[in-house]
């Protein structure tokens, strides 16, 4: 347990209140100031240039350091023991919630990159994939402790190459295993069919309730875990993340969304700049890469100005990682939007903080440094939008979850423990081998007289 102990001890030293002093604070929504942040009961109690220190508060001197709201990654696949239920085109019954792995080291590494929340998405193998899970990177807590409390549930849809690949005749598992759909048209059909089925399911419950109200004997419909999430989507209770690339499929999903009453987060949306007016008018939002392109045919028309161009049209835009490594430097991913698209510092930083919070309907809790919000903070040793800066501390709900100095100081101890365990195992293996030899020798002795 020493490993966990060493990493966990950060969150144990929790005092009633903490004050971070003398820092350059980028609130994202309320400008930048030099001063303090007061944390009480896991929330930001006050933020401003000249704040009194409450009695008994732990004081963190952040002179020369910068504080930003904890980074929110709107598209990640860490911390889960499975990602794709790729067998069927509509897999809405599965959920990341069931397979969260709070011991995935990627959590700690992302934390060390200033990330405090991550939207863990189902993969893109299915037209309608599984339920997603928004988490906070509370390293050391159990699966339940990772969950972000206070946001609506989500689901993943996917368009284009990935969901249709399994229907194409060249797919490797043999003709008997081909799966509908094989085309973009088919993807739309699968999604519309699923919603139509969900409507019928909804109606069957209503019919049952009506019968019951009239005092008639009736058997309730069987609960269907595949259709229930789709009913929630149509009732506006569940957010839809749509994996998409091309402008034609973006327009398609906007029409579907209109017909079934939801406003999706468009994920990837690399051609979003081509149909930004339509996206803005629909109320959908967009979460994209800073500058990844051409890694597949449908990604050829991507441009690094995409995020800025969509933002200028009034779309809420976030920049995401979709990758455990990229996740560790989303601050510089945001900074790229200043170079490509001339966004201001705050506009750029908003794309990894308040904007994803808005998209996920949790902006009342996180995404900026404002009194009343969760004390999710990342402290850098320099300008957070510079590649030269490093994260020194990360707080979630006011608890310290990453401390660079403590991490470095704890490494020799971890290495010592590791060596010890290796030696122990090796000694035992040697002993076992010796005993086994003794046994065989004994057996040989026994055999001798009989020969």
């Amino acid at each position: 347990m020493k490993l966990f102990g060493a990493l966990l001890c950060c969150s144990c030293c929790f005092a009633a209140s903490t004050v971070i002093q003398n820092a350059t604070v980028m609130t994202v929504t309320k400008g930048t100031y030099t001063g303090s942040i007061v944390i009480e009961n896991g929330k930001i109690a006050a933020a401003g240039p000249n704040l009194p220190v409450p009695a008994g508060a732990t004081v963190v001197d952040a002179k020369g350091k910068w504080v930003i709201p904890g980074i929110i990654d709107c598209h990640s696949h860490i911390a889960a023991e499975s990602i794709n239920e790729g067998s069927i085109s509509v897999a809405a019954m599965v959920g990341i919630e069931d397979v969260l792995n709070p011991e995935d080291i990627a959590i700690y590494r992302a934390l060390a990159g200033g990330v405090t929340s991550a939207n863990i998405l189902h993969g893109s193998a299915d037209s309608i994939g599984g339920k997603c899970e928004l988490i906070k990177l509370r390293w050391g807590k159990d699966a339940e402790g990772l969950k972000f409390q206070g946001g609506p549930p989500e689901i993943k849809f996917a368009l284009g190459e990935n969901p249709k690949r399994r229907g194409e005749s060249g797919f490797g598992t043999g003709p008997q295993n081909l799966r509908y759909p094989a085309t973009r048209m088919g993807v739309e059909d699968v999604i519309r069919e699923a919603f139509t089925e969900a409507k019928a399911y909804q109606a069957s419950w209503k019919e049952y309730e009506d019968k019951k109200a009239q005092g008639k004997v009736a058997i309730p419909p069987a609960r269907d875990l595949k259709l229930e999430p789709l009913v929630e989507v149509m009732e506006g209770k569940r957010i839809v993340n749509v994996h998409c690339y091309r402008q034609d499929e973006i327009l398609m999903i906007l029409r579907v969304a209109h017909d079934f009453n939801f406003k999706p987060i468009l994920q990837h949306v690399l051609e979003g700049y081509k149909v930004a007016d339509e996206i803005a008018a629909s109320g959908a939002t967009a979460s994209t890469f800073s500058d990844w392109w051409s890694y597949k045919v449908e990604a050829y028309d991507a441009i690094p100005w995409n995020a800025a161009l969509m933002a200028r049209k009034g779309i809420i835009v976030s920049l995401n990682s979709d990758d455990a490594e990229l996740m560790r430097h989303l601050n510089t991913e945001a900074a790229k939007a200043m170079k490509y698209g001339d966004l201001t510092r705050d506009e750029a930083l908003a794309m990894v903080t308040i904007n994803p919070a808005k998209q996920l309907h949790v902006d009342h809790l996180v995404g900026s440094i404002e009194p009343g919000k969760d004390a999710d903070l990342a402290i850098y040793d320099g300008d957070p939008l510079s590649t030269l800066s490093k994260v020194t501390q990360v707080y979630i709900d006011g608890d310290l979850y990453f401390d660079r100095d403590k991490d470095l100081a704890g490494r020799p101890e971890i290495e010592k423990e590791r060596k010890l365990l290796i030696t122990k195992a090796a000694d035992r293996a040697k002993q076992d081998a010796k005993n086994a030899k003794k046994d065989t020798d004994k057996d040989k002795d026994k055999e001798k007289p009989s020969r």
């Binding site: 347990m1 020493k2 490993l3 889960a80 023991e81 499975s82 990602i83 794709n84 239920e85 790729g86 067998s87 069927i88 897999a91 019954m93 599965v94 959920g95 990341i96 069931d98 397979v99 792995n101 709070p102 011991e103 599984g130 159990d142 699966a143 339940e144 399994r166 598992t173 043999g174 008997q176 295993n177 799966r179 004997v217 009736a218 058997i219 309730p220 069987a222 609960r223 875990l225 595949k226 971890i414 423990e417 590791r418 365990l421 290796i422 122990k424 195992a425």
Partner: protein, 451 residues
């Protein structure tokens, strides 16, 4: 049936060879032994009277019944017969794959032509990898050589389960002696064995979260099935008839669910699933249960601890450095029993494929080295498994009225030199097979190899 008939002459020869007596007696007196009762204090010089397969009396200086064979057990130790709490002994081949099983089961016959391959499962409604109705009690093989091998190693009882599917079927408690399967069964069904198997990439479920979603749906369906059947039974006229479903029948017939849980993350996950589905759960595996004793205690869910302690795979790259977490997982697994005993979590041991009684005892000793008391170890081999399966009223300890399953040894079971002198199974005495004719272990190995 044929096989049992063939065996009768052999049995007769064995009986004749054992002694000049025509038939084994109805009654025995074990005199002057150390009697480890488990449910009551150990008698240092005690007597046990056995009659008609049951324990008639336990005490000090008992008078020998007139018809009893008296066995002078001076210097010997009498334990309740050991129980393997999760086993496939006497179940060669374990079970057939479910209706749409593909790829994962070794027992599955190879498809002769693509036309014969089962179609991919398209969802929970296809009941993939499910055979809840398969009853181990109907498939016991009394001639399985492992029975005698393990009985010679002190085991008189095993709780055997089919294991080949997600819902593999219903287990049975069997005694390890008898010429007819029916007389070997102590209690059935013992519960439903679940695994987290997946069905390959193109057949549902193709992922861990798919499997969990399927398990959840099947339990919901089973509840609905019960409700629908009962409503229909009282109002058949004017109601649509609920469809018969063999898998829901099987699930509703299973008094408890065995869930796999090795790492702490999995234990946590399965405890949540069991709570959510209101299952009477038993976890099996338990390698990292030492980290999760608090929640286990709180849940009241017992653990079957695997005696196959995790080791570095022999084929592992010698140059590969194991992370501390993996090293700790291996090093501390044998500490699980001690930790569970200390926390008051009910647990029992299971052989988990260990083919030699000597290996089982070696594993037990590692648990003792890691802090488990001998009393707790014996309890986890006797009364605890009986309690977990709800049969402590008939077996698991040495008390009058219980089944006469006894393991009689030359001394303390955890002393290296101690040997099993003889066992009683259902009141019948069994001497260990002579060393030089002991070949069944090899037979076990061969069957494993051909699988």
């Amino acid at each position: 049936m044929l096989s049992t008939k063939l065996n009768l002459p052999l049995l007769a020869i064995l009986c004749a060879a054992r002694a000049a007596h025509a038939a084994p007696p109805d009654a025995y007196l074990l005199h002057n032994a150390r009697v480890v009762c488990v449910s009551s204090p150990t008698l240092e010089r005690g007597d046990v009277v056995i009659r008609k397969g049951m324990i008639e009396a336990v005490g000090v200086d008992l008078k020998a019944p007139a018809d009893a064979w008296v066995i002078d057990a001076t210097g010997l130790t009498v334990y309740p017969g050991f129980i393997d709490a999760l086993s496939t002994w006497a179940l060669p081949g374990a079970a057939p794959p479910g209706p749409t099983a593909r790829g994962t089961s070794a027992a599955q016959p190879a498809p002769t032509a693509p036309a014969n391959a089962p179609p991919p499962s398209k969802g929970p409604e296809d009941r993939p990898l499910s055979a809840t109705f398969y009853r181990a009690a109907d498939h016991i093989s009394p001639t399985d050589p492992v029975i005698a091998t393990m009985r010679d190693g002190g085991f008189t009882t095993a709780v055997v389960f089919p294991t080949n599917n997600i819902f593999a079927g219903q287990g049975a408690v069997i005694d390890l002696a008898g010429d007819r399967p029916g007389s070997m069964v102590v209690a059935a069904p013992a519960g439903q064995y679940l695994s987290m198997k997946t069905n390959g990439f193109s057949s549902f479920p193709g992922s861990l979260m798919g499997t969990i979603a399927y398990i959840r749906q099947l339990y919901l369906d089973a509840d609905h099935y019960k409700l629908a059947q009962s409503i229909y039974a009282s109002h058949p006229q004017g109601l649509q008839r609920p469809a018969y479903d063999e898998n829901l029948e099987g699930l509703n017939a299973s008094p408890r669910a065995l869930l796999p849980a090795h790492r702490a993350v999995e234990i946590d996950r399965m405890l949540h699933l069991a709570e959510q589905l209101k299952l009477k759960a038993v976890l099996y595996g338990g390698e990292e249960a030492w980290r999760w004793t608090g929640p286990l205690k709180q849940s009241g869910v017992p653990v079957l601890v695997s005696l196959k302690w995790p080791e570095r795979p022999k084929e592992a790259d010698p140059a590969l450095e194991d992370p501390l977490r993996i090293l700790e997982y291996r090093e501390k697994a044998p500490g699980t029993p001690a930790a569970l005993a200390k926390a008051g979590v009910r647990f029992a041991f299971f052989s988990d494929g260990l083919a030699k009684p000597a290996d089982i005892r070696k594993s037990l000793k590692r648990a003792l080295d890691a802090g488990l008391s001998k009393d707790d170890a014996i309890r986890a081999l006797t009364l605890s498994p009986a309690e977990i399966y709800g049969i402590a009223d008939r077996t698991g300890s040495i008390e009058p009225g219980k089944i006469a399953n006894l393991t009689v040894t030359s001394g303390d079971w955890f002393d290296d030199k101690t040997k099993v002198k003889f066992t009683f199974v259902d009141g019948q005495q069994y001497d260990p097979q002579p060393e030089d004719t002991k070949k069944p272990e090899d037979a076990v190995k061969t069957t494993e190899a051909t699988n």
